[in-house]
């Protein structure tokens, strides 16, 4: 509960400060134009942006789940002893196969 109160306190404080420090601004059209070193764009910048390492991102989402298991594992690691090391070793070994596969397929580069 204290955690929650403190964290929301900071968040609310920061949001309030930002709304006071950064009031609604208005700019003329020439000032608002995006900076391109004097050049002009044809379209809005917001678009279906081609994020190149998308395959990496998907591998990352799956791999990152391992964190969920590792935090509680770390807490009981010493009391469970070598068994804990072995089990997490196996878990990470399984996931590493996926990483190795992805690496061989070249997913850690820009597509």
């Amino acid at each position: 509960m204290t955690t929650l109160v403190i964290l929301s306190l900071w968040t609310a404080l920061a949001a309030f400060a930002a709304s006071r420090a950064l009031p609604e601004a208005a700019s003329t059209a020439p000032q608002a134009a995006p900076f391109l070193g004097g050049g002009t764009p044809d379209t809005h910048a917001w678009s279906r942006y081609h994020f190149r390492p998308y395959t990496m991102t998907l591998v990352f989402v799956a791999f990152e789940m391992e964190m969920m298991f590792m935090y509680p594992w770390a807490v009981v690691f010493v009391s469970e002893g070598p068994k804990a090391l072995a089990e997490m070793g196996m878990f990470l070994a399984i996931l590493s196969v996926g990483l190795l596969y992805g690496w061989r397929e070249g997913v850690f580069a820009w597509e």
Binding site: Y54, T55, L58, V59, V61, A62, E64, M65, M68, F69
Partner: protein
């Protein structure tokens, strides 16, 4: 009382998620609806674990499994979207229906 509030919140999340999953034309927005339903499931799991089941350890594990399901759903779902988009310039659910042939 607390449990009732939590479970009602979970029910509302599941209801909105269902609405979203059914009403959205786009496959990626449909996934948002699914995630929202899983969010409701997560909330219910946490509430039941903490307030009705006396903190049995399997309850927390259930919450983790729900999150793992979300990660898997997202990774596979978006991989499918990429594969289908590459094949046909389509990301609408209706268009995916015609891909069967």
């Amino acid at each position: 009382m607390t449990l009732t509030i939590v479970l009602l919140g979970a029910a509302a999340l599941i209801g909105i998620g269902l609405y979203g999953a059914l009403s959205q034309q786009s496959f990626v927005m449909l996934m948002m609806g699914l995630e929202l339903m899983l969010n409701g499931a997560l909330l219910a799991a946490i509430g039941l674990w903490s307030l009705a089941l006396g903190g049995m350890p399997e309850g927390q594990l259930l919450a983790i499994v729900v999150m793992a399901v979300m990660a898997v759903e997202m990774a596979v779902g978006f991989a499918l979207v990429v594969a289908i988009y590459r094949k046909r310039q389509a990301d609408m659910t209706e268009s995916i229906g015609t891909l069967a042939g």
